[in-house]
């Protein structure tokens, strides 16, 4: 038996990163090794491939059913594409906490965390490596869904500028869910607690925001005085009728060819139609309005809102052309409508004419997703930081019921 021959010189390695106290493990070298440890473990477990296969089958079923329902209808590609994205986001949010919340509590229970902590790794490197490993794993689910996205794109009407944005933001949302899971995992002593807590926080974003938004309607309830809309130069208003219900001319004579006359009026009406060209009547009546412009921000941190709201929307030919609107675009337009608030609820409030806006026209509403993404990043970063404090050694205060090794 002979012992080692290699002597380690502390400053041989390590570019960049922390160089405190002569130790020689660069930040990315350390985080990268943790990443490798995690990924290799995962890549070699059978369960992982079973999960990916199940995922592939389920997304293929969803896309296939959608395609079958729509037949070969034109303009369906966008709907199918957004459906796949929404689905990947929904199930990704279910998978990400499971992938990430056990990474550190599992190591704690298995006795490997203390071994990592006893090397030159800093808590930040451990967290970073584990987070990246969980994120990359969750991106594998997005990757497996790519065939369905391509399938949707073969319909030819997918609005291309929206594709990279939707895919990228979905990936970012999965990263945030993983960060939440890893942060909570570092904080908790028991694997089960970490997984449940991570699910609850992700559910708070996905479902909780919608519930809170719904409940807050009571707080933004108000009344407004509405009046009727008057369309002054509607040619139909000038048409006069006799007692028999026949149209008459200015002299009270019955017009001979009623049908031709009505057709003429109708043509004039359509030609002159202008949605903005009305005035508000003088008689007011009290109506209930909801000032959703005050509570829409509650929806901001919802992952679906963030992804949908960030995507550019296909320009429409006409204001009321909803054809081919996918689920993500629908989410976005609901949110924008809600942002406009009470003013958009009635065209005549307090006898004052409100500007009529087309639902898909985003002008005049501020994008909500930067706020939402910001809230999510702050939440995830806060959890990671509090987890990092928990991983610091030598441990001063040991959490109840947890042990080091």
């Amino acid at each position: 038996m002979s012992t080692s021959t290699t002597t380690r010189r502390p400053d041989d390695e390590g570019r960049g990163g922390e160089r405190r106290s002569g130790s020689a493990l660069g930040f990315w070298a350390g985080a990268g090794t943790v990443f490798q440890l995690e990924s290799r473990q995962r890549m070699r477990s059978r369960g992982w491939y079973v999960m990916l296969a199940v995922w592939f089958v389920v997304t293929a079923l969803v896309a296939g059913l959608a395609a079958w329902t729509a037949g070969s209808e034109e303009g369906f590609g966008q709907v199918m594409f957004e459906l796949v994205i929404g689905f990947v986001l929904f199930f990704g949010l279910l998978v990400a906490p499971a992938l990430s919340a056990n990474t550190i509590t599992g190591d704690r229970a298995g006795g490997t965390l203390a071994i990592l902590q006893n090397t030159l790794l800093t808590p930040g490197q451990i967290l970073c490596g584990k987070w990246l490993a969980a994120w990359v794993s969750s991106l594998a689910f997005l990757l497996v869904s790519v065939p369905m996205i391509i399938w949707a794109m073969t319909y030819g009407d997918v609005y291309l500028p929206a594709v990279p944005v939707l895919v990228l933001l979905t990936a970012v949302e999965l990263g945030i869910a993983c960060a939440i899971g890893v942060g909570i995992s570092a904080r908790s002593a028991r694997p089960l607690f970490a997984i449940v807590a991570s699910y609850l926080v992700v559910a708070l974003l996905g479902l909780g925001t919608v519930i809170i938004y719904g409940l807050s309607f009571q707080l933004v309830k108000g009344t407004a005085m509405a009046s009727e809309q008057i369309w002054p130069d509607d040619p139909w208003d000038d048409v006069q009728y006799n007692d028999q219900g026949e149209a008459v001319d200015a002299h009270g004579e019955v017009i001979e060819d009623q049908e031709a006359y009505f057709a003429e009026i109708e043509e004039k009406a359509v030609m002159n139609y202008d949605g903005q060209d009305f005035t508000c009547g003088k008689s007011l009546s009290r109506i209930t309005v909801y000032h959703t412009e005050r509570n829409t921000w509650l929806l901001a941190a919802n992952p679906f809102v963030v992804v949908a709201d960030a995507a550019p929307v296909k320009p429409r030919a006409a204001a009321d052309d909803y054809y081919g609107e996918g689920p993500m675009e629908a989410v976005s337009s609901i949110v924008r409508q809600s942002q406009r608030g009470a003013a958009a609820m009635d065209p005549c409030l307090d006898g004052v004419k409100q500007p009529v806006v087309d639902e898909t026209d985003l002008a005049g509403t501020a994008p909500l997703w930067p706020l939402g993404l910001g809230v999510q990043v702050v939440l995830a970063a806060g959890l990671l930081e509090s987890g990092r404090r928990r991983l610091r050694t030598p441990v001063k205060k040991l959490a109840r019921g947890s042990r080091l090794a």
């Binding site: 038996m1 002979s2 012992t3 080692s4 021959t5 290699t6 002597t7 380690r8 502390p10 041989d12 390695e13 390590g14 405190r20 106290s21 002569g22 130790s23 020689a24 493990l25 660069g26 070298a29 350390g30 090794t33 490798q36 440890l37 290799r40 473990q41 070699r44 477990s45 190591d107 298995g110 006795g111 490997t112 965390l113 203390a114 071994i115 990592l116 902590q117 006893n118 090397t119 030159l120 790794l121 800093t122 050694t393 030598p394 441990v395 001063k396 040991l398 109840r400 080091l404 090794a405």
Partner: protein, 339 residues
């Protein structure tokens, strides 16, 4: 008992290694909530020696090792690992430390070689260096045939060897081993002993905690005894022979033996429940033992066995543990020592 031993109640250790080498811990205390795992421990381990850490279950051995390994901060007291305070600069201490925990943690899906190579990289080694070092260590602990097998197929003893190899990955100056021999077969125990002696011979500081005292007799240069969260005594294993030791004497005729002992004026006990005619006596030194044996033979007692009743460390251990658990000899802070 009439035997001199260093008794500790929080004072400085009798002999400390040169500044900047080995392990020195003074006045350590650590509680977990209301449980006071370590109350007052001093611990010294010198380079070039194997120091045994001995104590009953729950005496605070593992807590002490966690503090020495820079994972746990003491509530009070100071630690020096090669002159570095692990609380102030844990990374510098870890570069010089190898720690083998009492729990076995392995990355089950990774191969044995991968685990060691990854660990090497976590100490800043390059990919090639870490891989070479991993091979070297696997040979050293005789796990090379398992290099490409996943860690989950290893037996407990093999995992123990892997854990030892892992602790050696950064070629540490200070090696802290918590129960390294548990789960090892007799052959592997002998290998472990040889390896640790060799490391000590190369100037490393080796600390071993164990329950298997007979094994430490052969391996350790010094022993530190702990009980109920306190260091109760510290001694060199070579010196242990000069301290009180119990000998078991067997003779063909029991009465002849007891008569001769009474005649010699030596106190003895006759352990109940043994088939043989044996007496146990407490003797101050090996010279005394030799004299007694000569006397017995001269008196015509047919002696068939005359040997230490237990291993050196077992002897010291029993003495240390019984002394510390006897409330009258444990100083309590509220009480002034009796004049």
């Amino acid at each position: 008992m009439g035997i001199q031993e260093t008794q500790y109640d929080g004072g400085a250790p009798a002999r400390t290694p040169e500044a900047g080498t080995g392990v020195v811990a003074i006045g350590l205390a650590r509680s977990f909530g209301t449980v006071r795992a370590v109350e007052a421990m001093d611990f010294t381990a010198r380079p070039g020696e194997v120091t045994a850490l001995i104590g009953p279950n729950g005496s605070g051995k593992t807590t002490l090792l966690l503090m020495l390994s820079s994972l746990l901060a003491p509530d009070s007291g100071s630690i020096s690992i090669c002159g570095i305070n692990p609380v102030d600069d844990p990374r510098a201490a870890r570069a010089r430390l190898g720690w083998m925990p009492d729990t076995l943690g392995v990355w089950e899906e990774l191969t044995v070689h991968e685990i060691l190579a990854m660990m090497g990289r976590l100490y800043g080694a390059s990919k090639a260096d870490a891989a070479a070092r991993a091979h070297e260590l696997l040979k050293l602990v005789k796990l090379d045939e398992f290099a490409s097998r996943p860690a989950r197929v290893l037996s407990r003893g093999q995992q123990q060897k892997l854990s030892l190899a892992r602790a050696l990955v950064n070629d540490p100056q200070v090696l802290l081993l918590d129960e390294p021999a548990s789960g090892l077969d007799p052959g592997a125990r002998i290998e472990l002993r040889t390896l640790l002696r060799e490391l000590a011979g190369r100037g490393r500081t080796v600390v071993v905690s164990s329950h298997v005292l007979a094994e430490l007799d052969e391996m350790a240069d010094r022993a530190v005894f702990v009980a109920a969260g306190r260091t109760v005594s510290e001694q060199r294993v070579d010196d242990a022979g000069t301290r009180g030791r119990r000998y078991a004497i067997e003779a063909l005729d029991r009465e002849a033996l007891t008569d001769a002992l009474e005649h010699a004026g030596i106190e003895f006990t006759l352990p109940a429940g043994t088939r043989r005619a044996a007496a146990v006596v407490l003797l101050g030194s090996e010279a005394e033992a030799a004299a007694l044996l000569r006397q017995l033979v001269a008196a015509g007692v047919a002696v068939v066995a005359f040997a230490p009743a237990a291993g050196i460390l077992e002897e010291s251990y029993l003495r240390a543990v019984t002394t510390s658990s006897d409330p009258s000899t444990r100083p309590t802070p509220a009480e002034e020592p009796r004049p």
